[in-house]
């Protein structure tokens, strides 16, 4: 796949990185989000902090309701207010706090510098417009290209994401594409403006395993070429092992563990992370037909948070202290962080 995407004379690779600056491209600090419900206020994110570096993939993993998608929506400022509300924290992108931008300023960032792909490629595309129109629209709005130039860019993007006969297919409608092809279109659209950050929220959950492998290869390849930082949201530890450089494990709106992918997978510290890894049958920690390790119970209600660790009720190693006091974050070598009372000897 070699898409030279610019019609200019020197023909630079449009996907090549423009600038390289050290340090994180996106930095989230102390993010808190609440949702008002009929039964009370649900604290959906509580003091979430992480950094995303250029050319890196950060995996965000956890069960449904752990807050991983809300984290992405908060970064994109896509949380409906009301009922939602960002109660605390900052989202630094290029030295600016996105949470302080006006809606007009934010529109310059969204879909342009930070873009997002969603789980369900059918509902993310407008069935009434051709895929070319939809990709071109983003380029026209953000880069002010003409109609014909933006359509040419759309063709180039479809080529870049491996859609055959792109010049014809650019005029086709979403229903004429298969699920995997639609997700490629979404990725092409998300990358059309050369974003610094790509947020992928369960991008392959609706797809077959062979197509998932193609999409993962594509995201990895584009990340190499563009230096785009990728935030991959998933519930699948297999996807994490395949794609992520660093991992954030979320539980009930809090980060319980974070670190390099090898550390997380080989020496998981938090009992929840250990459970998540061991209960996957694909990991084959027990013989076929033997009971898998379970995480008993279900995710707690976010409406009434107790004072202690929210995992305490499901934890096999729970201690009295866990139920009354929130475990602080301790950091080990390699930036491996964990919030658990079992691991307090390493407190910095």
């Amino acid at each position: 796949m070699s898409a030279v995407l610019h019609p200019s004379s020197s023909k630079p690779d449009l996907l090549a990185p423009e600038v390289t600056h050290a340090g994180p491209v996106l930095s989230v600090k102390g993010l808190g989000v609440e949702f008002r419900t009929r039964r009370g206020v649900a604290r959906v994110l509580d003091n979430v902090s992480f950094e995303l570096c250029r050319g890196q993939t950060l995996g965000v993993v956890g069960e449904s309701g752990c807050g991983k998608s809300v984290t992405a929506l908060a970064v994109m400022r896509l949380i409906a207010q009301p009922p939602g509300r960002i109660t605390s924290g900052q989202v630094y992108f290029e030295g600016r706090d996105l949470l302080t931008l006006t809606e007009r300023e934010m529109r310059q960032v969204r879909g342009n510098r930070i873009s997002m792909i969603f789980q369900e490629p059918m509902t993310s595309l407008n069935p009434a417009y051709t895929v070319g129109d939809q990709i071109a629209e983003a380029v026209r709005l953000h880069e002010g290209l003409s109609t014909s130039a933006s359509l040419a860019r759309a063709v180039e993007m479809l080529e870049a994401v491996g859609i055959p006969a792109a010049a014809q297919r650019v005029h086709e409608y979403p229903h004429q594409f298969s699920g995997g092809m639609r997700q490629r279109v979404m990725i092409g659209m998300a990358l059309a403006c050369r974003p610094d950050v790509l947020i992928a929220d369960e991008p392959t959950t609706a797809l077959d395993v062979t197509v998932q492998a193609q999409i993962f290869d594509l995201i990895a390849e584009l990340r190499e070429r563009t230096g785009t930082a990728v935030m991959l949201i998933t519930h699948d530890m297999g996807a994490i092992a395949e794609m992520a450089d660093r991992v954030v494990v979320m539980y009930a709106g809090r980060i319980v563990e974070a670190g390099a992918v090898r550390d997380i997978l080989s020496v998981p510290l938090h009992p929840y992370t250990r459970g998540l890894i061991r209960c996957a049958p694909g990991r084959r920690t027990v013989a076929p037909g033997q009971p898998l390790e379970e995480i008993p119970g279900t995710v707690p209600s976010l409406l009434e948070r107790g004072a202690g660790c929210l995992f305490a009720d499901r934890c096999a190693q729970v201690m009295p202290r866990c139920r009354v006091e929130l475990p602080p974050v301790s950091t080990r070598a390699g930036g491996h962080q964990v919030a658990c009372w079992l691991h307090q000897e390493h407190l910095a």
């Binding site: 069960e63 290869d217 530890m237 084959r284 076929p288």
Partner: protein, 335 residues
């Protein structure tokens, strides 16, 4: 047929007519195109494949929930593919189904206990007076609490709903339970709970499962024998260990190598077969091997000659021209 065979499927075909207006020619989708297999009593037979492979249609055909175009389905000695009307309904207590989506499988206006009671009443299981107790028993067996009998589906989590669905399927003490992706809608932690429950119930009640899934990890954990389905046919079928440790069909190898490895150091490893493109349309099936168009090892005859499913090693069946009769792949094995 072996004496311990519970389910025997022979040359099963399911075709759906498509199109065919006033002028358009009537076309046919061959969703299941000649599938045969036996399932031993008390074992689990898995069918894996991508979406559109026909695995769910095969399951529905066994359940008599889609019209069978041709072929036979035998449950014990009963030809369930031949039964109709009341005779079929009476036999239904012997084979039950669990669907993928526990949200769509339960009536939102019916209490959980009543959903199970209905099944008991419809099937006429036991004496009417004892049915409430039986419902409670099923509830406890599937890990639900007695007070939850009174709750409505929306008051349960996805995993709990799937337990209700399982309890309802077991109400009539079936011999065969057909499970179509029963855990794919569940969170991974809940998946493990559900799989453990299914394994325990199988041991306790001697259940036989026909298990449909696209999740190779789940299939490998649960199934004793596995068939790989591609565009309406089985391309490979073998006991679990043989199939996972020594896959012969290039498609099976491709499926296996697409599964995440759980090992970050194995990324970008060699030995991967990456499939390009999507499966062809089941309306315009290619003349030879259905996989030939995507197969990196296809030869000329693969495009013209249909490979037959044949036994190349004990109990190991494969439909590929490029596997020898001695069960040796004749295509270059990736290192």
């Amino acid at each position: 047929m072996r004496s311990d065979t519970l389910l025997s499927v022979r040359d099963l075909k399911v075709q759906f007519p498509v199109g065919g207006g006033l002028l358009g020619a009537r076309k046919v989708v061959k969703a299941v195109d000649g599938v045969s297999f036996d399932v031993r009593r008390g074992s689990t037979f898995g069918i894996v494949g991508e979406s559109g492979s026909g695995k769910s249609t095969a399951a529905l055909a066994v359940m008599r929930l889609v019209k069978i175009t041709s072929g036979n389905v035998l449950l014990g000695d009963t030809p369930i593919s031949q039964l109709e009307g009341e005779a079929l309904r009476r036999e239904r207590r012997r084979f039950q189904m669990v669907f993928q989506d526990p949200y769509a499988s339960l009536n939102p206006r019916k209490r959980a206990g009543d959903a199970i009671l209905d099944a008991l009443n419809l099937m006429g299981v036991g004496e009417p007076a004892g049915r409430a107790e039986r419902a409670l028993e099923l509830f406890l067996q599937t890990g639900l609490r007695p007070e939850q009998l009174q709750l409505f589906p929306h008051q349960f989590s996805g995993g709990q709903r799937q337990r209700i669905v399982l309890a309802r399927a077991l109400a009539a003490r079936p011999e065969l339970v057909v499970c179509d992706e029963p855990v794919s809608a569940l969170d991974v932690a809940i998946q493990a709970q559900m799989l453990n429950l299914m394994l325990r119930l199988q041991r306790e009640f001697g259940l036989t499962y026909l298990f449909i899934s696209h999740d190779l990890g789940v299939v490998r954990h649960l199934c004793d024998e596995v068939a790989v389905m591609y565009l309406g046919v089985f391309v490979e079928q073998a006991p679990r260990d043989a199939l996972f440790e020594r896959p012969l069909h290039p498609y099976t190898r491709a499926l296996w190598s697409a599964a995440p490895s759980f090992d970050p150091d194995a990324r970008g490893r060699k030995g991967r077969i990456r499939l390009q493109g999507d499966p062809p349309s089941p309306i315009k099936m290619p003349p030879g091997c259905r996989f030939a168009g995507r197969c990196p090892f296809a030869e000329a005859r693969c495009h013209t000659e249909v490979p037959l499913l044949r036994e190349v090693l004990p109990q190991h069946h494969v439909a590929c021209h490029r596997v020898s009769d001695a069960g040796q792949p004749e295509y270059p094995l990736p290192d």
